[in-house]
């Protein structure tokens, strides 16, 4: 039995998706990892979840993505979050070095933490 049943990974890079999926499963972090290749798809995915349906408890969110980046996703999610009973904990997963990004992340209350790529076992162990 893994720590979390359902984890959403918003990430455009296929290698990162594969690696994250593998490591989360290996460490028994998640039973199921759903991935969306940009923010737009992720929003659409979440919006399609039925109101009484299960919503992922954890979201790993990349920042730099085409069509809708991580920041835009966060803004969009703010708009629809009221329809969920339980809100997911969002972890930003990025290789950014821009201090502005760290500052910006603090503005979003939904963002639990900022995790620097690559996603490691240690990082996952901290999440409970």
């Amino acid at each position: 039995m893994a720590k979390f049943t359902d984890v959403l990974l918003v990430e455009d890079d296929p290698i990162t998706i594969m690696v994250c999926d593998r490591i989360m499963k290996m460490t028994l972090f998640a039973d199921k990892v759903t991935s969306c290749e940009n923010g737009k798809i992720a929003i659409d995915h979440l919006a399609s979840v039925r109101e009484d349906g299960p919503i992922p408890k954890i979201i790993f969110l990349d920042i730099n993505m085409p069509v809708m980046n991580g920041w835009d996703f966060l803004e969009e999610f703010e708009k629809i979050k009221s329809r969920f009973d339980q809100l997911p904990r969002i972890y930003l997963l990025s290789s950014t070095v821009d201090p502005e990004d760290y500052k910006k992340a603090k503005k979003f209350s939904l963002v639990e933490d900022f995790i620097s790529k690559p996603l490691s076992r240690e990082a996952l162990e901290k999440i409970s």
Partner: protein, 877 residues
């Protein structure tokens, strides 16, 4: 007074007991009391001492005395004593002198005592030692003194004791009154006085007694031996307190003849007096002893000569004069008695506090023998006249003062009388120490006048003297060891009716200080003037209403106005009164009292505005009128540089930001594949290389490595563009570039079934770098193809045209379009992708913008989702 006299006179009625008792107390006073038979009743030590001076035996109470006991005394002593005892006289006085080593003088008084109650009938002898003759040396002087008096004077000298009983009389008393000095002794001072005069004499004597040391004079009548009354003038001085004298000293002389003359005078003047009593002019006649003989009504009414004293015949004029003036008047009368006529002024203040000034004339009165017997004083009030003359005096004093204040020296030469007049200031200005006596001494000035100025000065004076010319000149004085003095001389000559020159006048003024001040001022002015004229900064002086009074050449040049043009303007006409800077200036000026420092714009003659920095301050001119002094500095260049600097700074800032952003993005994009590689490695099953998952990892590992390589290559390309500032330029034709690019993308275009329409007719050639331009065209066209709309056939339009500063190439398409509101700020960012299109890496537009800006151009975009996009590339022309 009466009491004093009564005391003296009533000695004879003193009771023996009282006498005895009082005498016993007064031990210095010797006394001896004897009865009718010369038996000693009482005696004191002082008497014994006295007695023993003359007699060898002692006197004791109870002893019977006889004539022999008094043998050594003057004969008169025993006689007197017997006379008293016999009742022939009540009392008697005598003086006894002892001639030993010292001359001692004793005043002896013998008084009859007759007291029924005490059964005493006898006499008392009192002895009083007179210290006036107590010492030999003193005696010599005194002897001399008395001798002199006796020998020379017709006056009588008398000494009286405190009781006013004569203790001494000089020989002259016999001449005047026929009474021997001995007879005078013991007489009371009042005894011989005429009954009518006694009251006055008593008052006089009281005064004498009351004022020790003061000489008090009185005229009165005394009886002579023959019983006739004579007028005497008695001068008395109270010397009782003087230890050497202890007496009242009197001195009297016969004034009978003078009195008779006075009376005659009074009679002769009576008629005149009648007349004179009706005149305004007052007169007073004095006798030769300065006593008032007569006076008229006017004199009485006003007493002009005296002070609050009623005039009265017989009064001495000296007693009526203010004490401090007495000595002056004595001198005056002395002169009058020498035969001179004297005028004198006096002032007195009436009860209404009005001052009256009188002029008095003192004339000697001569008798038939031409001897002066009196003084005739006439007095006239001259208050008004005095006022007039004083006014004149004040005026002349004023003139003098004015001359002093103005430091004007005055010189006058009277041609007729050949006399000169020089004012004090004249000497002071010329620093002459010796007084000039005549015209010729004026040559003294030659030594001090500056040699260069001498001729002018001389010729001007000559001309004035000869022709009456006026002159006004300045000349310098050279005074030893001193700076030069500058003198202004104004002069001229006065002519009489006949046209002859009668007077030559010059006023002198030392104008050194003002000269120096003017010189200093001129220097200062010229300094300021040159500053004003040659200053690079503009200076404008404007007055309170805002009119320009003056402007320096710098301002005129700056604004292209002539001086006359600019001074016909008001300051407002030069200002942009609608600009915020102007209102700010006015606001600050209000607070700072006209002072302002700041930047504003001034209107050039041609109408455009010039940026200037001004410093204006309110000042006050010599007359106290405020004016505004404004210093203007043209800051056009400064502004330009400032602008350039700002642009440069902005660009630098932007570049810096770009670079920072670039570094962030590149590191991000490099880290991303590296992170993948690390993750993949960590997942690799080293224990079992045959793990089937390992194969997949290797596959991904290769992919990630290639990704990293690609990213590095892209970054190198960007860095080349960014760092290569001196890119080679050549003349390139847009048409040629388009042809080359079209060849590479022709397949893509055909796949999308798109068309490209080009128009390079307006501008076709540009100085640019070929590779860059190719890259720009390629990126623009391939983007248009990549993001074409699936709903319509792709149409791309490319056209070039020229604006003022740019050559513009416009790439327009009818593709997907973008929401610029959402993506505009990120459109040209590195690795920004907006479409989920695998081909786009987010590099193209970033590269294009870098290539454009690196050559000084810019790129603009217009887009609407669903309609299409238009990029305008601006190349520097």
């Amino acid at each position: 007074m009466k009491n004093i006299l009564n005391k003296g006179i009533s000695l004879k009625t003193v009771s023996p007991l009282q006498l005895q008792e009082s005498m016993l107390v007064e031990t210095e006073e010797g006394f001896l009391v004897v009865d009718k038979n010369l038996k000693v009743v009482a005696v004191n030590s002082a008497y014994r001492k006295f007695h023993n001076l003359f007699n060898s035996f002692d006197i004791v109470p109870g002893k019977d005395l006889n004539e022999s006991d008094f043998s050594s005394f003057p004969e008169s002593f025993y006689c007197i004593l017997n006379n008293v005892l016999a009742g022939e006289t009540e009392n008697s006085l005598l003086q006894v002198e002892y001639m030993g080593d010292n001359v001692l003088s004793f005043a002896i008084s013998v008084v009859r005592v007759n007291e029924e109650g005490r059964n005493l009938d006898g006499a008392c002898v009192m002895v009083h030692k007179k210290e006036i003759q107590s010492s030999m040396t003193k005696s010599n002087q005194d002897t001399e003194f008395f001798k002199l008096l006796v020998d020379t004077s017709t006056s009588v000298y008398l000494l009286a004791d405190a009781a006013l009983v004569f203790t001494y009389a000089s020989n002259a008393v016999e001449v005047i009154l026929g009474i021997s000095p001995q007879e005078m002794l013991g007489k009371n001072a009042i005894e011989l006085v005429h009954p009518d005069d006694r009251e006055e004499v008593r008052d006089w004597l009281i005064e004498v007694r009351m004022h020790p040391g003061k000489l008090v004079t009185h005229e009165y009548r005394v009886k002579n031996k023959q019983g006739e009354y004579l007028w005497i003038e008695n001068n008395a001085r109270n010397m009782l307190n003087n230890s050497n004298i202890k007496a009242i000293v009197m001195n009297f002389r016969n004034i009978q003849a003078k009195k008779v003359a006075d009376h005659a005078l009074v009679r002769t003047e009576q008629r005149l007096s009648l007349l004179l009593n009706n005149t305004e002019e007052s007169f007073i006649i004095l006798n030769s002893r300065l006593r008032i003989v007569t006076y008229n009504k006017a004199a009485q009414d006003r007493s002009p000569f005296f002070y609050n004293t009623e005039l009265q015949s017989g009064l001495s004029v000296l007693d009526l004069i203010k004490e401090e003036e007495v000595s002056d008047y004595i001198d005056l009368f002395e002169e009058v008695f020498k035969g001179r006529e004297i005028e004198k002024e006096s002032t007195f203040v009436d009860p209404l506090a009005i001052a009256h000034i009188y002029s008095h004339t003192f004339r000697p009165l001569f008798d038939h023998q031409n001897d002066i017997f009196g003084v005739f004083i006439t007095s006239t009030e001259i208050t008004e006249r005095k006022k007039l003359t004083e006014a004149v005096a004040v005026n002349s004093e004023r003139l003098k003062t004015a001359q002093k204040i103005a430091r004007l020296g005055y010189f006058e030469y009277d041609v007729t009388s050949k006399t000169i007049f020089c004012s004090e200031e004249f000497y002071e200005i010329l620093e002459l120490t010796d007084t000039l006596q005549n015209w010729w001494e004026l040559s003294a000035i030659e030594q001090i006048v500056h040699p260069d100025d001498m001729d002018v000065l001389k010729s001007e004076i000559e001309k004035s003297l000869l022709f009456g010319n006026d002159f006004n000149l300045e000349f310098r004085l050279v005074i030893k060891d001193r700076n030069e003095k500058v003198i202004n001389a104004i002069g001229g000559s006065e002519k009489n009716d006949a046209g002859q020159i009668v007077k030559f006048r010059v006023t002198l003024q030392d104008i050194t200080d003002s000269k120096m001040a003017i010189l200093a001022l001129q220097t200062l002015e010229s300094k300021f003037k040159s500053l004003f004229e040659h200053s690079i900064d503009g200076v404008i002086l404007s007055n309170q209403p805002g009119l320009i009074i003056s402007a320096n050449p710098a301002v005129c040049t700056l604004l292209d106005y002539s001086h006359d043009e600019i001074t016909s303007l008001s300051a407002c006409e030069l200002l942009d009164i609608h600009s915020p800077a102007f209102s700010k200036m006015m606001e600050i000026r209000k607070i700072e009292n006209g002072a302002f420092m700041g930047e504003i714009h001034l209107k050039h003659k041609s109408g455009h505005y010039i940026p200037v920095e001004i410093t204006s301050i309110t000042m006050t001119d010599g007359n106290g009128n405020p004016y505004l002094s404004t210093i203007i500095r043209d800051i056009t260049e400064k502004k330009k540089i400032e602008k350039e600097q700002n642009a440069l700074t902005e660009e630098l800032l932007k570049n810096n930001q770009d670079l920072q952003q670039f570094s962030f993005i590149t590191s991000h994009n490099l880290r991303a594949p590296v992170a993948n590689l690390l993750s993949l490695l960590s997942l690799y099953n080293k224990q079992n290389p045959a793990d089937e998952f390992n194969g997949l990892l290797i596959e991904k590992f290769e992919e990630a490595t290639l990704q990293l390589n690609q990213t590095l290559n892209d970054l190198v390309n960007i860095l080349v563009i960014k760092s290569n500032n001196n890119i080679e330029r050549e003349t390139i034709s847009f048409s040629d570039i388009f042809t080359d690019v079209k060849r590479t993308i022709d397949n893509l275009l055909k796949q999308k079934n798109g068309t490209i329409e080009v128009d390079f007719l307006k501008v076709d050639e540009i100085q640019y770098n070929r590779i860059h331009l190719e890259s720009i065209f390629l990126n623009m066209i391939s983007n248009a193809i990549r993001y074409s709309s699936p709903d319509r056939q792709l149409e791309i339009k490319i056209r070039s045209y020229r604006t003022e500063n740019w050559v513009v190439v416009d790439f327009s398409d009818n593709g997907l379009g973008m929401d610029l509101k959402r993506y505009g700020d990120r459109l040209f960012g590195l690795y920004q992708r907006f479409h989920n299109n695998k081909e786009g890496k987010g590099l193209g537009l970033y590269m294009t913008r870098s290539q454009v800006t690196a050559m000084g151009g810019k790129i603009e975009v217009e887009s609407e989702p669903g309609k299409g996009t238009s990029f305008k590339i601006y190349f520097k022309s």
